[in-house]
């Protein structure tokens, strides 16, 4: 029984979640404060991975990341990193397909806060960024948690995009979801069973935790 696919999945999900926090919050800041007329467009672009077939997303990412693609070329030239069929490429892919799982809960929580929080902070002379960090985000902690946990879980569970741009290279891109596919192809049902059961249990536990948390909070308010 080889555990490296799980370790790889865990590493990919952790790196993706941390990077998405760092990228997601400035993005949310921009959309919330400046995206007046362009808001619907930005939201549609961010939510695309929710409805696109993973193969479509994977295909375009492949075009972008391959050595002839502009991002692949840039990375090859400047960083000497190959992006297709490699871990760094998987991270870029994961950031894009998990983006809505991080951004949407945070953005909708911000939009549900009373406008007067923002306005009150402005009247106290505080900048937009200061208002976001000290007033708005601390009051939507629950949604930050949910965004982080869902990003992590969704990255663990992604299959199509990973297969398109990462393939199935042991220790490099063969994450848990790919490993199951691989075992089935080799008719090794015993290992596939274990992998699948672990992923099922993991996903279920994550969702239970998220909904328990939300349930307790709503009970607390009433």
């Amino acid at each position: 029984m080889n555990w490296s696919p799980f370790w790889l999945s865990f590493k990919l999900a952790s790196v993706t979640t941390v990077l998405l926090f760092l990228l997601g919050i400035p993005l949310v800041y921009f959309i919330y404060f400046y995206g007046r007329s362009s808001k619907p467009l930005l939201k549609a672009v961010i939510s695309l991975p929710l409805v696109l077939p993973p193969t479509v997303l994977g295909y375009y990412l492949l075009l972008l990341l391959r050595p002839e693609g502009w991002l692949g070329q840039l990375s090859q030239q400047w960083l000497d990193i190959r992006l297709v069929f490699s871990f760094p490429g998987l991270v870029i892919g994961s950031i894009i397909f998990s983006l809505p799982f991080m951004v949407n809960p945070i953005l909708s929580a911000l939009e549900n806060l009373p406008d007067t929080y923002r306005e009150a902070a402005y009247t106290l002379g505080k900048s937009r960024w200061n208002t976001l960090i000290h007033v708005l985000l601390p009051n939507i902690k629950a949604s930050l948690w949910v965004g982080g946990v869902m990003t992590f879980a969704h990255t663990i569970g992604e299959f199509g995009v990973v297969l398109m741009i990462g393939g199935s290279i042991p220790e490099q891109t063969r994450v848990a979801s790919i490993a199951i596919y691989n075992e089935v192809e080799m008719l090794n049902y015993a290992d596939a069973n274990v992998y699948a059961a672990i992923l099922l249990l993991f996903s279920f536990i994550v969702l239970i935790l998220v909904y328990l948390y939300q349930h307790q909070r709503t009970q607390g308010i009433i």
Partner: protein, 289 residues
Amino acid sequence: MKVSLQKQLRGGKNFFQLDVPFEIPSGEMLAVMGPSGAGKTTLLKMIAGLVAPDRGSIEINGQLWYQSQKRINLRTQDRSIGYVFQDYALFPNMSVRKNLEYALAAGQSREIIDEVLDLIHIQNLANQKPTALSGGQQQRVALARAIIRRPKVLLLDEPFAALDEIMRSKLQDDLMELHQRYRTTTLLVSHNPTEVARMASQVLMLRDGQIVHQGRPASVLASSGDVLLKGEVLAIDQDRVTVVIKNSLSTLVISNATSRYKVGDTLSINSEDYQIESKKVERNTDNSY
């Protein structure tokens, strides 16, 4: 403070023009009255820079905050204002003291926090979270937070509307004390004629975005034409008429009552029918009897 603002507003399906020119001497309190939807909150938000006017100007102590022709429009952050919102807008993630500390300007001394806490009688609440406070207490904190920076203009949007009569009158006392101490130019949106008569030195009466009356409380309240009293006649005994007004009984003395009303009539009294005497209430500090 000199203000003249115009903006197209929407009330239901109709558009109407908000057009409010007024001037108040520095350090005075102006009450803004009028039915809901008249543009009172919009006026306050335009002065705060939270809502953009179509045209006009705002000038405070010779400084221009807004002037459409010269394209001057200071950000809210750069206008020196204190704003008490209808919903108080206290930050739930911070304690009362933290709410006030957050309000401090860069480099401002912390001493003012305890001074204001004392002045508004909420020293004992300093470490509480806003969600644990009653409406009246939250109102006090909101007021305290609004004056921490010693703003040039204080904007109060129906600050006492949600409070009961006793709490309201205590808070009015505190606000008066505060006003006398700091002499901040104040705009007070209010529905309550008693409050206005008691606190303000000037009144603006708005209707559909236009000023319908303007002046001292005594004259504006008396000429407002609002219904002061309306109820159903329950019993008439010679010149004494008993009326049900908002579920409570009142007895009025009206000459020739028996010939003018019968039981079941609706009796209504407008301010045009009677002259109202109103003056600012001086605080009675003489406790000897």
